[in-house]
Symmetry: C2
Amino acid sequence: MPTGHKRQGSALEANRRDELLRAAARLFVEKGFDATTTRDIAEAVGMRSGSPFYHFRSKQDLLKAAMIEGLEAGHQRLQAAVAGIDDPERRLRVMIRSHLGTLLEGDCHAPMLVYESRSLGITARAEIAAVSDRYQQAWQATLEQLAASGKLRLPAKPMRLLLFGMLNWSRQWYRSNGGLSLDEIAEAAAEMVLA
Amino acid sequence: MPTGHKRQGSALEANRRDELLRAAARLFVEKGFDATTTRDIAEAVGMRSGSPFYHFRSKQDLLKAAMIEGLEAGHQRLQAAVAGIDDPERRLRVMIRSHLGTLLEGDCHAPMLVYESRSLGITARAEIAAVSDRYQQAWQATLEQLAASGKLRLPAKPMRLLLFGMLNWSRQWYRSNGGLSLDEIAEAAAEMVLA
DNA sequence: AATGATTAAGCAAGCAATTGCTTGTTGGAT
DNA sequence: ATCCAACAAGCAATTGCTTGCTTAATCATT
């Protein structure tokens, strides 16, 4: 493959860096940012205690990178899910289901890292807020479309805030093996939003 | 005052202990449990770094006590608010407003400490869960009453979970000086719950 | 192709600061 | 005289992070 874009060294580098990112995200969500030591993260990927600092300048940098990566993965998943769906009601239902998926499925749970924002400096917090805002705007647009045709029980903005509360808070009580399924939660939430 | 139940020494003790509890609760909510040092707490009430340990055996004990105190204060506020209200719809509205009050008004914000449960040992977590359950049951009862007369948009249990999500998550975006007021949030939430 | 220079990636060791908590002591109210 | 409440001082462990070095892979030049 003479036109390969990556030398082997670079590929390995990216892999290890991603491993660190994923392990850190998992541990941060599991135990919280402060309760997770850089030694925990290193051990999780089989490195020595100081080695992660070759890939990331600081522990906070690691958190910031994990948050941005997780937010953008969720954003792309959302965009892919709604692609080609024109009916706004149907689109909202798909968005709700997609959001619950990134929030509760798999082992990453990256969106919940946003809750650890306070561990970051103000400049990093602003970066996160910018990425997060783009995600919110996709929702705002769809909700306003629904509100315009009288299909929402509340104005778009308060509705968005309350809806995100319902969805995000589900991380506090959702258990994958019992109780409501993701589809059921999604349908229940949609039921409350739509008039 | 021969029948006084408290000597002055005890009264002062209780005062200082309560000061510690309130300061700790505020700091824990503000910065998180791990990011708050026992020195922060001591300084907040004008003590030296080791003195809080005269009143509390450990930092975790301080958190546990603050959580229980906050939860029970909220519970009493709720009970007082609904006393004598028989109409279940009216009672739910009052409960929602009361819950938002304990959550967002004043400077204590104790209910949000529940989110710091993971910093506790399992036995302490169980104690907290027990107190928290009593609070939830008051809601469950009222919601079931409403569901029985067909006034709920969803069955009582999922409705309770989603409702608490809407309300508790409001701490993430509510600002006392702009946007929606507590009364407006309460009304919007009630609107979504009731059929 | 062979050789020397450079770099990527990580290890070993440890530093400086912080942390929760303990110990022995002291002033003041009863 | 007694004892509550707090102080002064510091210990032991942990923490994020740094430094100097090693190993292997890559690159440039002959």
